[in-house]
Symmetry: D4
Subunit: 249 residues, 8 copies
Amino acid sequence: MNEIELRELLEQVKAGNIGPDDALNSLRRLPFADLGHARIDHHRSLRTGAPEAIYGPNKSPEHCVSIVAELLDNGTGPVLLTRANDEQIDAVLQAHDDATVVGPTVLWRAATPRNANIVVACAGTADLPVADEACVVLNAHGVTPTRLNDVGVAGLHRLLAELDTLLDAEVVITIAGMEGALATAVGGLSAAPVIAVPTSVGYGAALEGVTALLAMHATCAAGITVVGIDNGFGAAMAAIRILDLRDRS
Amino acid sequence: MNEIELRELLEQVKAGNIGPDDALNSLRRLPFADLGHARIDHHRSLRTGAPEAIYGPNKSPEHCVSIVAELLDNGTGPVLLTRANDEQIDAVLQAHDDATVVGPTVLWRAATPRNANIVVACAGTADLPVADEACVVLNAHGVTPTRLNDVGVAGLHRLLAELDTLLDAEVVITIAGMEGALATAVGGLSAAPVIAVPTSVGYGAALEGVTALLAMHATCAAGITVVGIDNGFGAAMAAIRILDLRDRS
Amino acid sequence: MNEIELRELLEQVKAGNIGPDDALNSLRRLPFADLGHARIDHHRSLRTGAPEAIYGPNKSPEHCVSIVAELLDNGTGPVLLTRANDEQIDAVLQAHDDATVVGPTVLWRAATPRNANIVVACAGTADLPVADEACVVLNAHGVTPTRLNDVGVAGLHRLLAELDTLLDAEVVITIAGMEGALATAVGGLSAAPVIAVPTSVGYGAALEGVTALLAMHATCAAGITVVGIDNGFGAAMAAIRILDLRDRS
Amino acid sequence: MNEIELRELLEQVKAGNIGPDDALNSLRRLPFADLGHARIDHHRSLRTGAPEAIYGPNKSPEHCVSIVAELLDNGTGPVLLTRANDEQIDAVLQAHDDATVVGPTVLWRAATPRNANIVVACAGTADLPVADEACVVLNAHGVTPTRLNDVGVAGLHRLLAELDTLLDAEVVITIAGMEGALATAVGGLSAAPVIAVPTSVGYGAALEGVTALLAMHATCAAGITVVGIDNGFGAAMAAIRILDLRDRS
Amino acid sequence: MNEIELRELLEQVKAGNIGPDDALNSLRRLPFADLGHARIDHHRSLRTGAPEAIYGPNKSPEHCVSIVAELLDNGTGPVLLTRANDEQIDAVLQAHDDATVVGPTVLWRAATPRNANIVVACAGTADLPVADEACVVLNAHGVTPTRLNDVGVAGLHRLLAELDTLLDAEVVITIAGMEGALATAVGGLSAAPVIAVPTSVGYGAALEGVTALLAMHATCAAGITVVGIDNGFGAAMAAIRILDLRDRS
Amino acid sequence: MNEIELRELLEQVKAGNIGPDDALNSLRRLPFADLGHARIDHHRSLRTGAPEAIYGPNKSPEHCVSIVAELLDNGTGPVLLTRANDEQIDAVLQAHDDATVVGPTVLWRAATPRNANIVVACAGTADLPVADEACVVLNAHGVTPTRLNDVGVAGLHRLLAELDTLLDAEVVITIAGMEGALATAVGGLSAAPVIAVPTSVGYGAALEGVTALLAMHATCAAGITVVGIDNGFGAAMAAIRILDLRDRS
Amino acid sequence: MNEIELRELLEQVKAGNIGPDDALNSLRRLPFADLGHARIDHHRSLRTGAPEAIYGPNKSPEHCVSIVAELLDNGTGPVLLTRANDEQIDAVLQAHDDATVVGPTVLWRAATPRNANIVVACAGTADLPVADEACVVLNAHGVTPTRLNDVGVAGLHRLLAELDTLLDAEVVITIAGMEGALATAVGGLSAAPVIAVPTSVGYGAALEGVTALLAMHATCAAGITVVGIDNGFGAAMAAIRILDLRDRS
Amino acid sequence: MNEIELRELLEQVKAGNIGPDDALNSLRRLPFADLGHARIDHHRSLRTGAPEAIYGPNKSPEHCVSIVAELLDNGTGPVLLTRANDEQIDAVLQAHDDATVVGPTVLWRAATPRNANIVVACAGTADLPVADEACVVLNAHGVTPTRLNDVGVAGLHRLLAELDTLLDAEVVITIAGMEGALATAVGGLSAAPVIAVPTSVGYGAALEGVTALLAMHATCAAGITVVGIDNGFGAAMAAIRILDLRDRS
């Protein structure tokens, strides 16, 4: 309930059309749907520009199905189920089969295409599943990103060969595990907002992504921002926030 | 040296105006100045939209003075000295006194004012030095941010009282130590790009900012990005990258 | 053996009814039952108001059965088996089938209902198993809590819509993984004792609950207390200690 | 602004006494005072039963003085300045000299005495500064605790000699550094709510309190809760929350 | 090869019975058997009083069989295979069936019984597998320990009931997971050498034994020593070193 | 593209044989093959002396087959697939069966034998899989190392018996888990370059190799270098870099 | 109060010489002296064979003086003040000047000399302060240890030159920072009980002693035990426990 | 004492020129000098090619002076005092003033110049003190390295401008703090042995060098080796080991 709606509600109270008790109740009935096990936040879409995405782990297949149904029936935007396991995917596809499935991510009702030049750069082939998650979330919002696969810093010329692509980008999502140096290199080459995603790729001293996360934060390149380990979803959502700002200007 | 310059160089070689050896030398003489102890990267300004900022720690006052001189003399943009100690500040002010000093940050030649609605929200008064760093770096780029001080999550109404400010913001920089929950709350309220800065404020379990950094990455709010601990400079630079994208669109 | 019993014992010695050697033996025979593999502490119930709960991991099904039998036969209060695996649950139910099973927790002989207004607030649906453990332990002590599911801080209005519930609560148990910000928000809204339970929900930077635990301890809200990661049992027991104080006053 | 006040406001709008715009402004003017550098939350006292305590670190002496003045002039409850340095203490005492100073804590306007049996048990003499902080915060709320100093687990009989004191306690605050075992032992002896405070006492493997914090969370005694490292303030505030519940019942 | 043997060798060289080249070879042929994949150190038994124990993990069943054979054939003392998996146990029992199997530990040729009063005290039933490992290693050296199961600090009277046993002990091995407080309590009660074994029992903040290990090192009881997490083998070997000293005195 | 090629390209431009646009394209077409999912860097072999090795994890068997094919068809040097799982190994062997398989490593087209005295010393038999990886990588480059198995520091004479071998070595790769002390001992005995490999062997306080890694870095022996946990591949590659230097001198 | 005294007390109650109330009081008056700020445990000396040592940090000089006085006046054994700062040392020496001062340790009333062959072996000269603490604590108990300085593993022959000393030792205390490998080497050479002390010597990856502590626990030498970082006091106390066992046998 | 000397000794015993007892003593009198507080290892120079360097911390100025004297008087190679404080430097210069002082490092009797092409590449100016330590240690061994200052990855063209220098290098020492990405970039560009030195430069997430250390180990560039944090000395010694191999071939 934004300021305009609040003002309108108060006007109605003033006009006597709505009694104070009813107004109080209205203020409480913010637009979310209580399914018992979950509260679907239709309002958040208006407020933050992002649909409610369903985070799969620890939910029963039945819960997933009912939340997806609520979002498809009572919302209008894209619907995403992330980090789903096979059982969850089978259940939701049986109930709502008009979906796109990319690894453990399921997408219904992608937004209409939108003009944007977003680059998703990936250090190694082992990072591809994280890049896939970022890309399907971007797709959900109507964005088709440019992908640069396997451009890690150990072979700098592979990255430099794509310099034009980087210079043209509006946002660059850099995805890297191990030591995560790709973020620093891209941050030094491109003037665009750079969103770094550490991945859990690597073993031993890679500490399941903690090393890359720390390294990306300790970067000597200025103005890079970082999301959580393997969080392709978060990186895509951050890019969408930036695109939305671009478009509202 | 961007693509256009490279093409021009090659045209000159073709026309015989420049010999191959000279061209080779030109390719090597990329626009940085080698002071012996440091390589001033005038080119980075063109490439990433950001001037070279001087990170004070471990540099002698004399080095600081000479780098500032190089940047003021042979560059045109704003010049920043960050994390400087008293001795360094005294030395650079003696050499170049037309500066603004905010805590340990020194600014010369701020850019002309630029239209932007950036909010710098600070959880507690102890976080203010980090907010100050972010603000002076924004000033350097011509931006005067809106500041929200002392709006931590333990007193939610203080934050909610500023909801309109948050909804109007183009970028929100949220600065918080301890458990860093402000970032999550702001991320759920605002559709703008949210840049979270964990601070080293707090003691014991705050682990000098590591707790806030981890918590901001583990946030349940989608699309928040994070910079390093106490890195007000980095957050401001990330905001400038986003503004630059807005303006180039 | 409390002071009154000790005094009585000494009176018996004085009266010559009990010889010193027997008294010495009595002092040694404190009321626990030694099953060989375990020492059942019937006395603790008197001393701390809590029954002996059986922690399942690393115990054989046979051991579980014999401890449950000892507690049911020689005690009078509720009996709990926690973190049990399927094999253990099958074994104890075969031996004692009058039980309530909630996930990996088994309850026999719940206490008679008791008047108490305890709220169990859960940040996300993935935290529900921990909330379930807390609730069945409260049930064991005769308490039926009010549950608030899916009220995480990223959608503040969902939490604020339950403000009255929080203001009426006698104790609030807040359960959250990821960055655990719910505890801080609740602590700022409610005057009641707030017990925070970090959960292992989340991935990457959530560090299997360590991030939430640290964040809850670094909270800027005063007077919140914390129990171990995923420790719904401990949170419920802490709430019972508080209720017992209320009732003895 | 609680529900009653909100209802009254809406009644005034309905009656035409307050226009919608003014009501909107009222909703925004929640009762805190904005000093520029800090927002004094007079309302929190009503909401959570706790006064705003001033956390000293990173504040200038002048800021401390002005916040203390705001709280003394426009509030009615006790006022606390914690973790203050000498310079801050000198400044606030010069402005408001009717204070009690205990180590780095300053207290004005302690509440009238209140009946409560709170025990503050301290493992070693090195933990006393943390116990002092807890005690002065309890004093601020009208409580005079019973102190047990130097009752660490390495000399169990010292603890057992105080068994009666522990059995009579309404709340026990146990303060211990090093391995923090006191909390477990007290938790097994007493039925009262037990609040454990890990301290940074010890060296090497004590890891500045992290070991004690982890150990207290890994305790095998049920229903113990924990606050942050060296957080005597937080432990006292948690005890006050429990006392308030006792008194409202 | 100890000093006496070295002197003898040199005498033989002097007497001309052994040529320098042969002596050199002798010095190289220290008494271990090289099986290619492993070097069996028959000499260590003489040097440190301990037989070579075979650590199972990462060894093939065939390697286990051949090492056991070498030790049984060319040694005279007890032979231990530890942390063996089912496949390894099956293989070695098929080859050498005169063994005692306790969980993942296999023992051949236990030493003749030896007089010793060693107490193995275990905090909870979940720690029993570690205690079992310690006990079978003690058995290997002819020692039958006294076991105290389930005497954790949360029920102090269970421990105090065994005070006489502790006071009579020559060495106490205390085994505890979670917060590991048993070691401190025993260290304060007994004058004997106390060897503490942290176990990986517990979840969340127990950090798979790291919490108990740190807590045991941060203990406030003087003169306790600690072995590695779950290292019942190491604790038993340390006890044997102490017994050997007692007997050589 | 090295300096000579760049100079030649510029000469061609000068001579008019190549137009600037074509030159620009040439500069972009550095010698790697883009398979879509991976960029095969044939050039790196020329630049760093090492072939592209394929890191198996997270790659589909089909991807592995296609990368191996690219490297075999369009390269000339040895080809390595490391950390492959059974499915990957089956797939690549079906396509290219002229391979050597050592555990999870597959080697095609080993280089011709090369004179080198490299010692691979292994602390325990549990470290052998890491040593095997190092050895097959050395084999790929034509080197047959001398292996010293089971020479851990707990039995110093086993190590000292091989002193001559260590003194003759050109490079020593020391592989050890647990506390990793072998590296320090070898570093003090040998003048050769010593490359230490921490392994994840051990349990509890070994922290899956982190302890050995830290210990090797904290070594008191001067001039030892370290590679990542279990990184036999990296150690071998570092040895090859040293051999290449020896041979180019 | 041991069993004999308890029996006597009960006999007195039986005989009517002591009334139950008085007996109850006696049971409470266990032999410690309550100084208010500290409880001096004279009884512990009888129980664990160790005097109360005073840990200096966080105690005021006045507190130190009064505790020392209590121990000297009402005890008979050695008195130790450890980790004292200059101000504390000045204060206690002014009050009780018949002391031995070794670095930050002060000793009064050393026990009469006792026959014991304890070796204190130190890896490097930087570890000497920790060795000094161990030695003065041994002196307090009448033991004059043999010291081996600077025998770190990087120069194995320095250690091997002292093999006879190690073989003759009854207990070996090995003190080492950095990677702590000395403990493993000594453990493999000597059959005596080996007590390892990690020190905070080293920088960077030595992690202020945590690396050495972990390495000593991950050791491949069987039967080594470890005390806390820099805990020379604890190592000496553990050695005394072992000597006491030797002497009581 | 190497094999040749041992053989000679045995020949002398055979010839009757040396008695067995004397031989035994000779075997014990390995060539180190025992100064009481330190054992100077003159032999290590022969064995490992490196002189004994004196690590300053925790040594008294007098000890430093005496160790330097021993090394200058009874050795012939270069002598280094590292990590010395001002007081230590003053003391040793007063005694032996023919020294070179570079920051906290003092060098006497540098070796005669030696042909070697070693590059010391430094990411930022803040890393220069570590590079200085590496360089003076190289100087001690007769090597004058090529220095590349301020070539961090955030400005890739600064590094690429020095590609020829990197391609010509025999060994590259890369020194970087923060995220340490320089090592990966250099490792991908150069075929030479690359030794990476993480530094403690940076703040917050740089974790005092731990982040750079982990990142360098998790690098995706093959064959890089790493030394400890800020360990310029160790990197130089590793380079010397490699040069020695080159020269002995």
